[in-house]
């Protein structure tokens, strides 16, 4: 494989890894804060699934890059502009409805992505994806059940679930944007063209939203350029919390 191809593969793998890593960090926030103890454990489990995906992908990116960076170097010693995750996953989510609306969108996208990526011509990406398909199917199931219950619950929960969906929906567009991706990676069967995921993802989410007696929001897309390293204000705080321990004590194990 050519050097250019390798560079594009590193970028692609980092983008998927950072989505999972940053989402895992947000999921971890819910431990001790979810509406019930059982949900604490459920969201922690989901976060740990995502962290596992991120670790495998970061390790793969480091290996292909060939500069001796391991998963910890990539997770803890890159700065904000080097992170390639979509802005959707990094934003604040201290409202449970928002967390479930976002998980519905993100898990549905991840599930479609990994289903297609499990046929990647890159054997490592295919293996990671095959494992993650089962995990994300459960994440999607979990989010769907909550969205339906909150949407089709009381007047108050319906109103707040719709507001949460309205807040998250504009940020989904970046998930389907292929601008960051080298077309050669798609042509060689390594990567999945994210534009092809839009219809199946929005179709599945639409079905859940209708079952929840909610409306699919009709709102313009947000200006979201996380794939280019341009993040929202909260990203710096998120990274500070995630990276401070490893940076204060380089090489520490815990």
């Amino acid at each position: 494989m050519s050097g250019l191809h390798d560079e594009a593969l590193v970028d692609y793998t980092l983008a998927l890894a950072d989505d999972a890593l940053v989402s895992a960090q947000r999921m971890g926030w819910w431990i001790s804060r979810a509406p019930q103890l059982e949900e604490d454990v459920a969201l922690a489990n989901i976060g740990l699934d995502q962290l596992g995906q991120a670790r495998l992908l970061l390790a793969h990116a480091g290996e292909v890059e060939g500069k001796g960076r391991d998963e910890d170097d990539l997770a803890y010693f890159r700065d904000e502009r080097d992170f390639r995750n979509v802005c959707l996953v990094e934003r604040e989510q201290s409202d449970f409805g928002v967390a479930m609306a976002r998980l519905l969108i993100f898990a549905c996208w991840q599930h479609e992505l990994y289903s297609a990526l499990s046929r990647s011509t890159d054997p490592t990406l295919a293996a990671v994806a095959a494992k993650a398909v089962k995990e994300t199917a459960y994440h999607l199931d979990h989010a769907s059940h909550w969205v339906v219950r909150l949407g089709d619950g009381t007047d108050e929960s319906h109103r707040r679930m719709q507001a949460a969906l309205d807040a998250e929906w504009p940020w989904r567009g970046e998930l389907f944007d292929a601008a960051h991706l080298d077309p050669a990676l798609v042509a060689s069967g390594v990567a999945v063209d994210p534009a092809t995921l839009r219809d199946p993802v929005e179709g599945r989410i639409g079905a859940v939203v209708r079952q929840a007696t909610l409306a699919v929001p009709e709102v313009p897309d947000a200006y979201s350029r996380g794939r280019s390293g341009l993040h929202t204000e909260t990203m710096g705080y998120l990274l500070a919390e995630m990276q401070s321990l490893a940076r204060a004590h380089p090489g520490v194990t815990w």
Partner: protein
């Protein structure tokens, strides 16, 4: 959400095919579907099982501690109910 008390569910896990479901604990959930999912997350995250049952705790009729004497003590002196009065022929392995 937390102000309203959600129903209690008893959780049963089958560890492997061929074994029976065993009671492992209880949890709160608004309905059976969510109870199953909570049970999956709380009780099978370390590969404890291949099958789950959840049962509304209110659906279980339990013997009362007050009835312990009349329920269980009469069995205490009935040694003839135990299969210990048979001579087992030598070499029989699966009796």
């Amino acid at each position: 959400m937390s102000e309203r008390i959600e129903p209690l569910w008893e959780v049963f896990v089958r560890a492997r095919r061929g074994l029976s479901h065993v009671h492992v604990g209880s949890l709160h959930a608004p309905d059976a579907e969510m109870a199953l999912r909570n049970a999956r997350d709380v009780y099978t995250r370390r590969q404890e099982g291949v099958s789950l049952w959840v049962v509304p705790a209110s659906a279980i009729a339990a013997s009362s501690p007050d009835e312990k004497d009349s329920f269980f003590d009469p069995a205490a002196d009935k040694v003839y109910r135990h299969p210990t009065f048979y001579d087992v022929p030598e070499g029989v392995q699966h009796l």
